[in-house]
């Protein structure tokens, strides 16, 4: 990649990540939320992969870490639903943190929704980054003709 592209990417990856986090955190007030914000966060890391090569982004976020963050994100989502069962009037996904009338439309409103947005954003970001990395890592293996693969697991029966 040319010098212009690398420099601009280096400047932009911070604001993109910040914008993604903003979308996730304000998801209960403005459009966005877990899905959209998670995609933008993943895009920041994918930008690093495209511009500086795969080892740069895997240095930040290895495949094992993203895979674990993936599962942990959704487990936090389910755990928040479980807490609703135990703490207040007993049903799943009960929004047990009430919002006072004065605090509407501010950041700390909406009960458990911001926490669920964060968990979703974590899951979507790590899942998308993992999908992109695994698919492109496989492409690199294909170009090294005849060499045994070392950048991705080649177990019989491993799902890509």
């Amino acid at each position: 990649m040319s010098l212009t592209v690398r420099t601009v990417a280096r400047w932009l990856k911070g604001p993109i990540l910040l914008f993604g986090i903003y979308m996730v955190l304000y998801g209960h007030i403005t459009p966005g939320g877990g899905f959209g914000g998670g995609v933008v966060i993943a895009l920041a890391f994918i930008l690093i992969t495209i511009v500086s090569g795969e080892s740069a982004s895997l240095h930040l976020f290895s495949k094992g870490v993203s895979s674990r963050l993936d599962s942990v994100g959704l487990l936090i989502f389910l755990a928040l639903g479980w807490l609703g069962t135990w703490w207040a009037s007993g049903y799943f996904f009960n929004n047990f943190i009430a919002t006072p009338e004065t605090a509407q439309f501010t950041l700390l409103s909406g009960g458990i929704m911001p926490m669920e947005n964060i968990a979703l954003g974590l899951k979507v970001a790590s899942a998308l980054f993992l999908v992109f990395t695994v698919l492109t890592a496989f492409q690199i293996v294909e170009q090294e003709a005849g060499e045994p693969a070392d950048t991705e697991d080649q177990h019989q029966g491993d799902k890509p």
Binding site: S67, R68, S71, V72, L74, L75, L78, G81, W82, T85, G90, Y91, F92, F93, N94, N95, H155, Q156, G157, D158, K159
Partner: protein
């Protein structure tokens, strides 16, 4: 111990989902932990399904009341299908402990398996159309990955064909959902039912219903839409084939067709005759194509198409006796088709081949497989004291009661063809003399034997179920009343 229905209903979806994630998190290297967690999850689900018999209820997600929020409904038809899904799932989970030892990524297998169970439980419990679509997609994506699990040549090709046709059918279903939402203004199935009862079925709703029938006929492999099944079910690993053929095509195919036709859209004569003709076509084409197969699992896959035709024929008759026959055949077929696929998997595990010409005399070497396979084959062929005979008899009697003599005769003929190819499998694989190449086989491993014995015991227990009175409001009778009353309580 009294669990409130409000807590019970979401647990059917949350428990396998949470266990699936937990397995993928902690059981990456420690395979035994993954197997243990999967079996515990399926045991808990089976116990919860048994507890749910007789309970009915509605769960509002997040407390939002019905017109605004998402519901999950537990009624008698849902209870019947939940029992079927979770009991067969338990047997398959036990079986796959030994079968999946050959694969190194078995934690991924259990994670995907529990995700598929999550999707199926969600489809059965869903109370509105879009939730149904989402859980349908969850189960379908898990099944696409499971079919391709071994990454051998045929598995990948079969999975590609399956995923292209599956995505097409899901797109058709989504267009149907869009049309129904545009016309009735709500997604909740009970509200749609009451709106349609008031305004009647005009042309756009007929188009939406046609799209739903096309989409869900793909999922349940009725005949013009069956092209993926004879490739996908044989190529998948044996426990996956048992789940797909035994439960998936029924939970996301037949169940949704019955729910939409009877409860949501209101049943008319033209819809019923469409279901009858689809059923007849599937029965005949599946039966005759099965008779000529040499591959044991491909034969069972075509046989699944044929038996699904029986069920849709029973549904299409519309009378209470026909629906009882269809539901009883659904439960029976889950039991014995899963058992037959697990047997075929045990045969392949021991001998390494699925070709009927190369097998023979396996009753001496694999006694438990042979005995349970005999029970399964006699059940599916409709030999008198076994369960398949009773369910097919009820469907034929319902045909004659409704005046459809041609359909009844066709059903009897297809039963004879079924008996013919099942006897062919039994003779060529189990009763003939043992060829030289197969002299040194070991017996089947203990967990696989346990799973097969469990399902065979289920088949025999179902044969006695007809003595309890199938029209009484317990299980099958109650499920039938949900459909014939046409009311979504």
């Amino acid at each position: 111990m009294n669990i409130d229905v409000q807590t019970l209903i979401p647990m059917f979806v949350a428990l396998p989902l949470g266990m699936s994630l937990l397995i993928q998190l902690v059981a990456r290297r420690r395979h035994v932990l993954g197997e243990l967690l999967a079996i515990i999850a399926m045991l808990l689900l089976t116990l919860m399904s048994c507890y749910a018999i007789g309970h009915k209820g509605i769960y509002h997600l997040g407390g939002w009341p019905t017109p605004i929020g998402i519901d999950m409904r537990l009624d008698d038809l849902a209870i019947l299908l939940l029992l079927v899904i979770n009991v067969v799932g338990l047997a398959v989970a036990l079986y796959s402990v030994d079968y999946m030892r050959r694969f190194t990524a078995s934690s991924h297998f259990y994670g995907l398996f529990l995700l598929m169970v999550t999707g199926m439980n969600g489809v059965v419990l869903a109370g509105d159309l879009f939730n149904l679509y989402v859980f349908l997609e969850v189960a379908a994506i898990a099944s696409y990955s499971l079919v391709a699990f071994g990454c051998a040549h045929e598995e990948l090709e079969a999975s590609f064909k399956y995923i292209v046709l599956g995505s097409l059918s899901s797109a058709l279903i989504l267009i149907g959902v869009a049309l129904v939402y545009g016309i009735t203004g709500t997604l909740n199935m009970a509200h749609i039912a009451s709106r349609i009862a008031q305004t009647g079925m005009d042309a756009p709703l007929l188009l939406a219903f046609g799209l739903f029938i096309a989409g869900f006929s793909f999922k349940s492999a009725l005949v013009p839409f069956h092209a993926w099944l004879p490739d996908a079910h044989p190529s998948a690993p044996a426990p996956v084939s048992a789940m797909l053929s035994g439960v998936l095509i029924k939970a996301i195919g037949i169940y949704v067709l019955a729910r939409l036709a009877f409860n949501v859209f209101g049943v008319t004569e033209s819809e019923l005759s469409l279901l009858r003709w689809l059923g007849l076509l599937s029965m005949v084409v599946g039966g005759f194509l099965a008779a000529g197969q040499k591959d044991i699992k491909r034969l069972f896959a075509y046989s699944s198409i044929s038996q699904v035709g029986f069920m849709v024929l029973g549904l299409g008759l519309g009378s209470p006796l026909g629906i009882v026959g269809a539901l009883y055949h659904l439960v029976n077929h889950s039991m014995f088709k899963s058992l037959l696929f697990l047997n075929a998997g045990a045969v392949e595990y021991a001998t390494g081949t699925r070709d009927l010409n190369k097998l023979g005399g396996l009753n001496q070497k694999l006694p438990i497989t042979g005995a349970t396979s005999l029970i399964g084959s006699m059940s599916i062929a409709g030999v008198p004291p076994f369960s398949g005979f009773w369910s097919k008899l009820i469907i034929v009697l319902a045909c004659i009661e409704g005046g459809f003599y041609g359909f009844g005769v066709a059903a009897v003929l297809v039963s004879i063809v079924t008996l013919a190819y099942q006897l062919k499998v039994q003779r060529m694989a189990f009763f003939a003399s043992l060829p030289e190449a197969l002299k040194g086989l070991r017996r089947e491993p203990p967990m696989m034997a346990l799973a097969m014995i469990l399902l065979a015991a289920g088949c025999i227990a179902l044969s006695f179920a007809v003595l309890t009175g199938l029209r009484d409001p317990w299980l099958i009778g109650a499920a039938q009343q949900v459909l014939t009353m046409g009311v979504f309580k």
